[in-house]
Amino acid sequence: MSEEPSFYQTPSSNRLKGIWAWLLTTDHKRIGIMYLLVIMLWFSIGIVLGILIRTNLMFVNPKLMEAQTYNALFTLHGVIMIFLFIIPAIPSIFGNFLLPIQIGADDVFFPKLNLLSWYLYIAGGILAIVSLFLKGIPDTGWTFYVPFSINTQTGVTLSVFAVFILGISSMITGLNFITTIHRMRKDDMGWMQLPLFTWSIYATSWVQLLATPIVGVTLLVVIFERLFGVGLFDPSKGGDPLLYQHLFWMYSHPAVYIMILPAMGIISEIFPVFARKSIFGYKAIVASSMAIAIVGSLVWAHHMFVSGMSDVAVLVFSLLTFLVAIPSAIKVFNWVSTLYKGSIYVAPPLLFALCFVFLFCVGGFTGLIQGAAGPNVHIHDTHFIVGHFHFVMFGGTGFAFLAGLHFWWPKFFGRMYNFKAAYTGTILLTVGFIMHYMPMFILGLKGMPRRYYTYLPELQPMNFFAGIGAYIMVGGLVVVLINLLASFRRKESVPADPWGGTTLEWYVPSPPPLKNFVHEPVVNSYPYDFPKKFHEMKSSGNSANKGV
C-alpha cells in the first residue's frame, strides 16, 4: 500500500501548508499527534518539579528551598501531572488517533469540536503559566481546599480558571467520543465487536461528560468566592467547607477512573496480541469497565473519612469503596488468564504491561487499606497516600501510557525503536519506581504527613533511599523516551502490522493515510479472533503482512 500517501503528507482540510496544516487541521490523527507533543512537554515539566521535590526531601538539614517554594512546587507538580498530563493523556492522544480507526470510521463525529478542545487544552495550559507570573505561584495543593484557597494571596483565581477551561476541553473530548462510538461504527460492528480500548474510552467519556461539569461549577464558585465573597464555602459566612470537598471529590474521584480506565483498555489490547491469544473474558472486562465507571462515581467521600463527615457516610462510602475494588480485580484476573496457554512474546509493550499489572496491584491493594475506615484514619494525608496514588497513577496509568506508546509508536510514525534500549529503560524505570515509592508506605505508617517540606530526623535514611530511587526512575524514563525519539533516525519503515494484532488499526498502513482505510474494513464477529488472524497471515505468505 506504499502508493497511498500517509496522513502526514496529506493536509486534512483545504490546501493548508506548513504549520497551518497542523494548527488548523481537523484530522483526528494530526490532533492526536499535537496532543502527544504538548502533553509530553507538560509531562517533562512535571517530572522536573517532582525530582526537585524529592531532592529537597532527601536531606533534613541542608534545605534546597523554603517552605513557600516547596508548597508552590508540589501544587504545580500536582496540577500539571493531573490536569495537564494524566487526565488528557490517554483519551486525547490514543483515543483521538485510534478510536475512529478501531471502529472503522474516517474521523470523529465532530472534527471541528475536536480541534477546539485541543485549543482549550492549550489555552488552559497557557493560563496556568500566566497565573504563575501574575500573582505568584499558587500554594494550595492541587485540591484547592477551601477556605485556604479563598484566603491565600497567591494567584489561585487564574489557576482555578485554567483548570475550569481544561475541564471543558476534557468534557468536549468525551462528548465527541460518545457520539462517535454511537454513530460512526461500521454498520456490522455491534457493541460486542468493539475493541476493548474503545470500550474503555466509551466508559471514560461518560465520566468525563457527567462529572467534569461538577468540578467546573465548584471551581466557579471558588472564583466567585474570591472575587465577590459570596460565602457559599466560607465557614465564617455560614458556608460549609465540607460541601466543597464533597463537590470536588464528586469529580475528582471519578477523575481517577478517567485516568485508569483507558489505561486498563490499553493493557487489555496488549495482552492478547503478545500472547497470540484471545483476551480471556471479553464480556467480563466490558462489564467491569462500565461497573467501574458507575460505582466509581459513587465513592467520592472516601477521601473525607477524617474531614468531620458523619459516621453514617463513612460506613456507606467505605462499603462502596470495597465494592468498586471487585471489577478491578476481575480485570487483573482476566489479564493474567489471557497468558495461560498462549504463545508469549515479551516485546517492550508487553514488558510494560506486565510491570503495570504488578504496580497496579500494589496500588490497588494499598487502596484497600485506605478504603477500610479505621486504618484510613491513620494513613490519611500521610506519605502512605502519596505512595498509593503514585502506584496507581504512575505505576498504573503512566506505565500503561508508556506501554501504549511503545505498542502504537510504529502505527503513529511508521518507525520502530530499539528493543534493547527499551528493555533496559523499562527495567530501570520499574526498579527505580519500586525503590522510590515503596519506602513511602513505611514512612506513612510511621506518621510522616504529606505536603511537609521537612520531617523528623529519624526518617532521613528512608527519604534518602527514596530519593535515590527517584533518580534511577527518572534515568530509566529518560532512556525510554530518548530511545523512542531515536527511532526517527532509522530509515526502514514498519509494516502495517508489526505485532500481529487483530483490531482494525492493524489493517491500515503505518502511518495511516488521511482517510484511514485503503480498503473497506472487514469487521470480525469477535474482535480478538487470533486463529483467523493466523490463517490470514499464513495465506498472505508473510508473518508481517503489509496491509490488507
Partner: protein, 197 residues
C-alpha cells in the same frame, strides 16, 4: 479500653496479609505463565475465550474477602469513634500555625498537650481559620479542624511518654512547622501542673 489502637492495627495486619498473599499469587502466576508459555517453547497458542465458572468464582471470592476487610475496618473505626463516658474533655483549637489546648479548668497551653496516664482523653476540635487536622500517629487518630464546626476524637493515654502531634491538612506556609507534643504524665504530675497558676 486501650484497645482502639490494637483494633486498628489488627485491621491493618488483616488487610495487609490478605493483600500480600494475593499480590504474590497474582505476580507469581503471571511470571510463571510468561516463562512457561513463551513463544519459543509454546508456539501454538490455544483459543480460550472465556469460562463463566471461573469468572463467577473470581467475582464471588474477592467480594467476600473485600466485605471481610470492610467489616474489620469498620469495627476498628467504631473503636476510634466511641468515647468512654469517663473521658477528660479537652478543647483543641487549630490556627495558623499552632495548636491551643484548653483544659476543663480553662487553663490553656500552646503546642503541648499534657494528659494524665490511665485516662481516656476526648479532644473537641475546632479551627480559627483554615482547615487543619490533628494527627497523633502513636494513637492512630486524626481529625480535621474546621472553623465554626466541632469535631472530636479520643485516645486512651496508657503509657507515659512524649508523642508527636502533626497537622495533616495542608494549611499554608507554616504547615510543616505546625507540630506539637503530647505528654502523658502521671496523675499527680498532671493535677499539679493543671492547678499551677
Amino acid at each position: 479500653m486501650g484497645n482502639a489502637v490494637k483494633y486498628v492495627d489488627d485491621a491493618f495486619i488483616y488487610i495487609i496479609v490478605f493483600s500480600l498473599f494475593l499480590l504474590v499469587v497474582i505476580t507469581a502466576t503471571m511470571v510463571y505463565f510468561v516463562i512457561k508459555y513463551r513463544a519459543s517453547k509454546h508456539p501454538e497458542p490455544s483459543d480460550i475465550r472465556t469460562n463463566w465458572k471461573i469468572e463467577l468464582i473470581w467475582t464471588v471470592i474477592p467480594t467476600i474477602i473485600a466485605l471481610g476487610m470492610f467489616y474489620i475496618g469498620w469495627q476498628s473505626y467504631i473503636g476510634l469513634r466511641t468515647v468512654p463516658p469517663d473521658a477528660i474533655e479537652i478543647d483543641v483549637t487549630g490556627m495558623q500555625y499552632a495548636w491551643v489546648f484548653r483544659y476543663p479548668n480553662n487553663k490553656e497551653s500552646e503546642s503541648v498537650l499534657i494528659v494524665p496516664q490511665g485516662k481516656p482523653i476526648k479532644l473537641n476540635i475546632t479551627s480559627l481559620d483554615v482547615l487543619h487536622s490533628l494527627f497523633i500517629p502513636a494513637f492512630r487518630i486524626k481529625m480535621d479542624a474546621i472553623k465554626n464546626m466541632k469535631t472530636y476524637t479520643w485516645f486512651y493515654a496508657d503509657k507515659i511518654g512524649n508523642y508527636t502531634i502533626f497537622c495533616t491538612e495542608y494549611c499554608g506556609v507554616g504547615h510543616a512547622d505546625m507540630t506539637g507534643m503530647l505528654r502523658i504524665v502521671t496523675e499527680s504530675e498532671y493535677s499539679e501542673w493543671l492547678n499551677k497558676k
